[in-house]
Symmetry: C2
Subunit: 412 residues, 2 copies
């Protein structure tokens, strides 16, 4: 496996988050000689917020967790998370549903909690029956090895085609009380904008009510995990969870707009953006990290559609892989987005260089500017639609030979 050129030298140092411990295990469901199962446990009173794939073919674990989290009639507060990698338990019929139920039942006994307190997530191959026995057999040992200091091991356990484990951390204060936020994520293909990315898990010791937590998570997901695309393909397993143990000793916060959360929100946004960017930097075959800033659109939603039309265009992405400042393809992608735009009012820049304005090539632009700029690893595209105040920033990677290698050979 070729490691992404954007891989960090080492995993960031993630200190323990008060109120959480965890364990990892090797079940052998698909992979040999590596951990593929992670359990995260929050103390009683832990609050969890979640966002899930909008796919109409969601995996059985997504169905389970969505019900556990969002059913108004679930009296059990979710606080245990069981995640396996290698098999996504998607399109596995009644066997898939039985596997999720069995996992939750066994976890219930082992962790002395309620069944609907157990949240599940799976990632990996679609359509193969999950050998759930291998998972439930591993759980009793895990409860013996729970530890507060296993974040890097957890990030490795949830990985599939990832070429490096992804983690981010931040600390902040709420009412003067120090609070920590840790997050891990996985994903490098089947990453698309219609929901969260494949899997992201964030834990904090902040004391925030579930409803406020959900509002904050949903809003920030739109600006982070929903703002990235590797290949326009939306996963059946996308799940992002934010768990707050409430172990921090500040007054509980129930309103998402409480000004005491100012510092916390900045820190959380940084963690989520850090994870989202790490997913793009590990995008299958990525050799360039691309940011797409759109402004001047008729609305933020319009700006998002335009940014994603550019970010999902195979012709734009192959041009950037070829280090070609092919702004014509950017114009094409704006044109096919279906959003209001006018060639005469549009401008397109690459890094500091204005390429196109007033419906044609900018007079100041020289091909060698673009040619030099495109050799960089980090490419910034800036589009001004010139019609309104709507803006959005999306991130993607280029489309290279290695994407084809990875995906033409993934299952075999």
């Amino acid at each position: 496996m070729t490691i992404s050129p954007f891989a960090p030298k080492s995993f960031p140092r993630l200190e323990p988050v008060a109120g959480f411990d965890m364990a990892v295990a090797e079940t052998g469901v698909r992979y040999k000689d590596r951990s593929d199962l992670w359990v995260l446990r929050g103390i009683p009173g832990t609050q969890i917020a979640g966002v899930f794939t909008k796919s109409l073919m969601p995996g059985a674990p997504v169905d389970w967790s969505r019900r556990a989290l969002l059913s108004p009639d679930n009296p059990d507060k979710p606080r245990i998370l069981v995640v396996n990698s290698g098999n996504a338990n998607v399109f596995t019929g009644s066997a898939g549903a039985q596997a999720t139920e069995l996992t939750a039942k066994v976890a219930e006994k082992i962790f002395d909690t309620e069944q609907k307190s157990v949240m599940l997530a799976s990632t990996g191959v679609i359509g193969e029956i999950l050998d759930v026995e291998k998972i439930v057999r591993s759980l009793p040992n895990m409860v013996q090895t729970m530890d507060v200091n296993l974040w890097e091991e957890a990030a490795n356990a949830i990985a599939t085609t990832d070429t490096y484990p992804k983690g981010a951390t931040a600390s902040c204060e709420i009412h003067g009380v120090p609070v920590r936020i840790n997050g891990i994520a996985k994903g490098s293909g089947m990453i698309a904008p219609d929901m969260a990315t494949m899997l992201g898990f964030i834990a904090t010791d902040a004391k925030i009510g579930q409803s406020a937590l959900q509002t904050i998570l949903s809003g920030f997901t739109q600006l982070t995990f929903n703002a990235i695309t590797v290949d326009s393909d939306t996963s059946t397993s996308d799940t992002v969870l934010l768990a707050a143990s409430g172990a921090a000793d500040h007054p509980i916060i129930s309103d998402a707009h409480d000004s005491a959360l100012h510092d916390f929100k900045n820190a959380l946004l940084n963690v989520m953006l850090g994870l989202a960017h790490q997913i793009i930097k590990d995008g299958e075959g990525a050799s360039k990290f691309i940011s797409i800033d759109v402004k001047g659109a008729v609305s933020d939603e319009s700006a998002r559609t335009i940014a994603m039309s550019i970010g999902n265009s195979p012709l734009v992405k192959t041009a950037i892989a070829g280090e070609d400042a092919n702004w014509g393809r950017i114009v094409m992608a704006i044109g096919k987005s279906g959003e209001p735009a006018d060639p005469e009012k549009l401008s397109v820049s690459i890094g500091p260089h204005l390429l196109a304005e007033n419906g044609q090539l900018a007079e100041t632009y020289k091909e060698e500017h673009g040619a030099t700029y495109m050799k960089r690893d980090y490419i910034e595209l800036s589009i001004d639609i010139g019609l309104g105040q709507g803006s959005y920033t999306a991130w993607t990677c280029d489309l290279t030979h290695r994407y084809i290698v990875i995906n033409a050979d993934y299952r075999s």
Copy 2:
């Protein structure tokens, strides 16, 4: 240039169509030592129907032709067509509009017709100013070399990254009178479903009113050129024109639903489908020709959205390139389409093999069935959504290394 493995041994024999003659020329706008300009002339009374890109960044020739054809206040019946390749004259500002006007003006004098009788189409690089002088200089010689027997030369003149010229022909009868239909097309990248393909031109000697002709062309475009996708990227230059000289000696037909057109419609659909399939077979980097049959959707439009979601999925297309019967990715693509679907009611087949039904892998399916089938050049995917009567068939090709090679290096 590597010729597509699907290229026919030779260009089909296209007999003259009564009422049309044509010429080709080498202008040197971009290419050396090959023709890049085509003029088609219909006799006075010729009727033309057209469909154009829905891109909001259309090329100047699209703007010109759309106005000439569709403006209710244009008294000049279009009957001359001037097509150049190598430069699309897109995003070229006022210079682009002036180039179209000048071309039409010069053609007006040379062909002794009205200015708005001249239709234009261009294909090639986006954003470079078209050296229109080279085009208008070539026109006087062309009028001296007009000929009825240059269809293959015309198909070559309009090509860009095409690896073979594309033509199709059919004959039929209207009211017992023999009628001929010839078509040529170009395109192998930036081919996507939101409109016609890049360029397609069809000529017939049938005597059909413009309104009926437009109705027939629009309807059939939805089932042919709009049913193909190479890479999900919609061109700024897409244009399909159907010209009817009326030279055939049958009573004029003004109603698109006239039963006398039964035979003609079959023949026209075959020509359009033949051209659309040839474009997919020359899809950039294509090694597999893929048909996607969707039935049982809640509507035909829903079936189309699902078929296109599959046909545009990079993960489905790379799996097929890798000869992997990865039906999980097909399920993923159905799930992300946003259209009504239910895993429990869905079935997925590849060729004669049922892969998935009742929300899981079909019991009768064996991996070796899929492995053997996927070695074929022609791959048939059949999806039954199991909810209604809606159906649609789309065609695409696989996503291979050669697509990246072609598109990372196109401009440089």
